[in-house]
Chain length 159, copies 5
Amino acid sequence: MKTKIAIVDTMFARGDMGKVAIETMEKNAKENNWEIEIMKKTVPGIKDIPVALLNLLEQGCQAGIALGMPGAAKVDKTCAHEASLGIQEVQLMTRKTVLEVFVHEDEAKDDKDLAEIMHNRASKHALNLLWVIFKPEELEKRAGSGERQGRENTKSVGL
Amino acid sequence: MKTKIAIVDTMFARGDMGKVAIETMEKNAKENNWEIEIMKKTVPGIKDIPVALLNLLEQGCQAGIALGMPGAAKVDKTCAHEASLGIQEVQLMTRKTVLEVFVHEDEAKDDKDLAEIMHNRASKHALNLLWVIFKPEELEKRAGSGERQGRENTKSVGL
Amino acid sequence: MKTKIAIVDTMFARGDMGKVAIETMEKNAKENNWEIEIMKKTVPGIKDIPVALLNLLEQGCQAGIALGMPGAAKVDKTCAHEASLGIQEVQLMTRKTVLEVFVHEDEAKDDKDLAEIMHNRASKHALNLLWVIFKPEELEKRAGSGERQGRENTKSVGL
Amino acid sequence: MKTKIAIVDTMFARGDMGKVAIETMEKNAKENNWEIEIMKKTVPGIKDIPVALLNLLEQGCQAGIALGMPGAAKVDKTCAHEASLGIQEVQLMTRKTVLEVFVHEDEAKDDKDLAEIMHNRASKHALNLLWVIFKPEELEKRAGSGERQGRENTKSVGL
Amino acid sequence: MKTKIAIVDTMFARGDMGKVAIETMEKNAKENNWEIEIMKKTVPGIKDIPVALLNLLEQGCQAGIALGMPGAAKVDKTCAHEASLGIQEVQLMTRKTVLEVFVHEDEAKDDKDLAEIMHNRASKHALNLLWVIFKPEELEKRAGSGERQGRENTKSVGL
């Protein structure tokens, strides 16, 4: 039986992160013989993500990804915070992992940079989610290593 | 059987967004032969919206719209945040979508601008809610396209 | 049978808003032949309001009013936010409306102004709560009209 | 049968508020012939208070006090906010009152002042909690009177 | 039967706090003849901690530790706050203690300092968690004593 994975993205975002996430997942799943089935839904904005995810997870998805792009204004930051709290709640209600892939519009210097961050973060987290489901030891061996999504990794400090 | 839709608005707001939302829904429902029945309730202010919505959704509405206008003061922003968290909770309790249509008083340059933003956002989200219920493929095909409600759309960046 | 209404106020507040709310409710209830019974409780500060309200609502009150006066310091604003989130939760747990009547100490120019705001807001919301319970059409017809509690109403903008 | 009261304090705080609270409660309980039994627990920091309180309240305590001292840094303020939200939740889960006695380190001019605020607030709220349980009319008659814990009372304004 | 303890850490953190926590626990457990079994999980970032902890606690762990390193940017602080609220919720759902060991990247002067804080805080809280489970009297006798994790202790003020 295939493992169902939920992806929810928005009309508001300025780039098709859903497409990137799906391509990354399908490529990696194929290489590793992981049988997956992606259930995707698009909502207007980030605050509409939590209930859409809850529905997909309760319809049998084993884990999910939330893709969104909060704007640069203060009110957008508040929206992102509210969406994130909703996503926390959804995870605790379902006991299932949802990786949140939010790219803040003001993280980027320009549109090219924005596109790169969106691509980098969506693809890395798509792979992370597969590891959460199929290969947790990939996460274990990177514990405390300074992994980043969206930019280059940073370095670890010896304890 | 008609699909029931909940609309909750406030006395506090400085424009009748409920009327705009209803007109938009009825016009579009008629054009598409979608049978809808709108259940509307008015409450004093935005913090009174969540419980009113919960009641309407538990009385059979399939989805809802929250219409409000937070003021420009800091305390009003906090109120909006509290109302938004309540609306998140209502959606997770009922598993039903509620689109939040808040127009912040300080988004606008003047009263004319305020009226335009209120009209634009209320009508666009009224249509979005119909799509959520009856035609999700309209949302799917706009994924990551930079759609905005209240102002003009922005542009997408290639990933 | 009389309709029970919960009122919770605090020792911390610098004015007896509970007295104003009760007088307004009793006067209006009498004029309209609405049979009400008020159950009132006083707690130390605003953060003690939510659980007191929950108890009164679960003991049969149909709706409630929370009366409080947050101080001017930043920590007081945070307390008010926490109390408000608790009041949201209480409403969603009980499916009952609670109108929050908070007067922030720094809204006022001086003590006289503070007294006026407290009186105005407490009495207007006391009447609003009666409308929520007995006469929702009074709220309906004021939708989007710019009603304010504590100060004068503002004006509506045509959409 | 004795009424059980929960007290939770922290190792982080810079003063033994638990001792003050217990002494105040035992003295007042004796004078009024109120039979109480105090169940006390110490946790590392304020964010560890909510679950400890929940356990004590579910083990039969009728009400509780949370004693903590948030530091002056911004991250400490956030911790206090998170702890306070947890304490709100605990009260709504158990339907029992918990008075939160937090003394922020930056409320005080110096160590002597800090000690005085801690003593004043802990003892006043210890008495408040006894009133909540045994003598609510003491709270009722101080409604809107400007009572403060930690500093001198302020004055009420006529409405 | 061994007491199971949950540890969740992240790939994002720039130091292997999980290793420090485990070493501290195993050393102290051995010295005191406490039988423990550690169940450890690594997740991408701090917001992925709450649901992972919930799963481990529901699989039989009696208590847990959350190890994370929020970055210095404002968005990282918001993430930390959201993770902390999730951890609060997990504790209240399970009635079990989770000590949160977050080291903010901007607490440190440089990488060496960061490593020292991470080591100090992880080891001290690892011991605290053992005390919570096996020897609460160690916590009791340090009530209000100004204990710190990450830096040196501060001093207590006489009340």
